[in-house]
Point group: C2
Chain length 361, copies 2
């Protein structure tokens, strides 16, 4: 049997509770497939700050380095909000992890399950039958990481500067990720830029058009980021794969996720070249409901599924997890965040929905 | 009586048709108030390219320089889409106009009229009673205009670069605009930034907090841009004035505008220091319906109203225009874009709704 090493970083808030359910699912996968997941737990975010003095302790980095993939919970909470931005749980953990491990490709599905369309703030007629968008966001370049960046001068003479920079190879590799993903889905890529204003976008568009020639079976379109923010609201079903640079992807993936109405359902993957990746729910640490056993673990469980698919090549097991989640929703199981008091719905807690997903595997 | 000089730039697509109605409204204002609007027409956008070789001809700039305000229609269309970005109607006209005239403060109202809530793609329960957001966008700084900007190198070694830069005075003056606007409305400013990633945002937040001390009657909050993109969809009514740097304002103002469901209703103002300003509809040139006399002129008429309010200090006349538009909507007048085949609605064309607005002044 195969052995995979998983760095388990539960983090803060609801992180540990939902992580527990994802780990139960990994146990169940071990029983059904000839595979072992060797798990090493490590502190991150607020837990890292409290226990080891920083959001991303060195021990944690080393545990991740020794692993085949990182399963990440969620970080942040009011307790650490007054720290300087660099040291805060989210920024202080996520940005260094992305850079250290070269996690350049962020995959953020925004899916409405047909049984959950009514959770969206969009009208029934706009989303009837659900939608299924995959945002592919460049994650290690652009205005997040380029130099110069900083505040120069003193007093009222201060000037803040950030730099957005993209090289051809950076654009090429993320474009390949988008076209390859589109091939396995709706065969459409919409590339987002602001080529009427940004030089990086002019280069981005040219290179994406070039790479598209390798994928004649995939349809490529281009949209300005401001128009994309509108079109998502107007008619989300027009999109299949959305390809973005780092900052635009941050904004549009969150907008698309909120349009589904159920953030607690959305996983994400951040992939390096090769098979290494980090997997985490799209939602936050929800400190307001932490410790009550009522959080929705589905995003964390689907994140574990993405790990099997992208880092471990276990497509069958990953499909089994996805299908099981869909079945459990069809059976009416609902945590509080997606409960709508409709006939046929069963209000359950974190553990119960985890158990139901395992029972349906 | 007073005399105001208006540079009239109708532009392309539906621009000339909707401009005609706005000019009729100015005629009507002249009859009711002791004022004269001396109007000089000039070419801009595709019309500028076709007739004078460029999107913003020098004659047009000179006419604008001699004026007290610019009333702008809309520009762009398929005919000019293959030109290099710099020369295209939108980019080639709007960015130089903003820079030449120092139009640093962009005011973009996103309003749902209670009688039009059903045009929004948001659910009735999310927008019941309408909403009224004013996005204040910094318009002459940030990543739009800062240097270095360009593509360096050759072939696969090329690198694209854009720079986002903000100085303290640039942030201060736009913050004042936001707080002063909030004072006359809901007394809340939500300042948007990405202070967990961008140095410009760290400075932005600090300065906005400083300026807020001059406005103790206005409540200030801060939101990351990705979260703002979500919160707009989730619960737009939480916002009163949204204050943004240039790029974030471009994205969020369009998202907010689309949430109203009736782009043809939304005016905008771009203000310089002093009283000079440029006024234009938020929607595009809609080449698909141009020349048919069915376009909605309300955004253009409300833009003329903003001109009276902000550049000419004619608050009473501006209120009269706003009220007249609201009345005409209450009376059921609808151009095709906002017609919903409901009882009490009267489908009318561009001229008819213009006449109705004048009749109700
Ligand atoms: C916490 C923050 C630095 C991060 C980002 O902007 O990338 C977050 O918003 C995300 O999208 O993962
Ligand atoms: C045409 C373009 C340069 C412009 C901008 O990005 O500012 C437009 O989108 C706008 O918002 O007025």
């Amino acid at each position: 049997g195969q052995l995979f090493k998983v760095a388990v970083l539960p983090g803060d808030g609801i992180g540990p509770e939902v992580m527990a359910e994802a780990l139960k699912v990994l146990d169940a996968i071990e029983k059904r497939y000839d595979v072992k997941f060797e798990r090493t737990h490590a502190n991150v975010g607020g837990a890292g700050i409290d226990l080891e003095g920083r959001a991303l302790p060195e021990t944690t980095v080393n545990i991740c380095k020794a692993a085949d993939a990182i399963l990440f919970g969620s970080v942040g909470g009011p307790k650490w909000e007054t720290l300087p931005p660099d040291e805060q749980p989210e920024r202080g953990a996520l940005l260094p992890l992305r850079k250290i491990f070269g996690l350049y490709a962020n995959l953020r599905p925004a899916i409405i399950f047909p049984s959950l369309t009514s959770a969206s703030s969009l009208k029934e007629e706009v989303i009837a039958g659900g939608f299924d968008i995959l945002v592919i966001r460049e994650l290690t370049g652009g205005i997040y990481f380029s130099q110069p960046k900083g505040i120069d001068g003193a007093g009222r003479d201060r000037v803040g500067v950030d730099t957005m920079r993209y090289s051809v190879p950076e654009i090429e590799r993320i474009a390949h990720v988008a076209f390859q993903a589109a091939r396995k889905r709706g065969k459409k890529v919409c590339s987002i830029d602001k080529a009427n204003v940004l030089s990086t976008s002019v280069l981005w568009r040219e290179i994406v058009i070039n790479i598209a020639k390798d994928y004649p079976d995939v349809e490529l379109s281009h949209m300005y980021v401001d128009n994309a923010a509108m079109q998502l609201v107007k008619w989300p079903k027009q999109f299949d794969v959305i390809l973005c640079e780092n900052m635009f992807g941050d904004i549009l993936s969150d907008e698309a996720a909120m349009l589904t109405g159920s953030l607690g359902m959305l996983p994400s993957a951040s992939l390096a070249e090769g098979t290494f990746g980090m997997y985490e729910p799209s939602g936050g640490s929800a400190p307001d409901i932490a410790g009550q056993g009522i959080a929705n673990p589905i995003a964390q469980i689907l994140s574990a599924g993405m790990m099997l698919r992208y880092s471990f090549g276990m497509v069958e097991a990953a499909d089994a997890i996805d299908n099981s989640v869909a079945k459990v929703l069809d059976q009416g199981y609902r945590t509080r965040d997606i409960y709508q008091e409709k006939a046929g719905e069963k209000l359950v807690n974190t553990k119960e929905i985890g158990d139901a997903i395992i029972a349906n595997l």
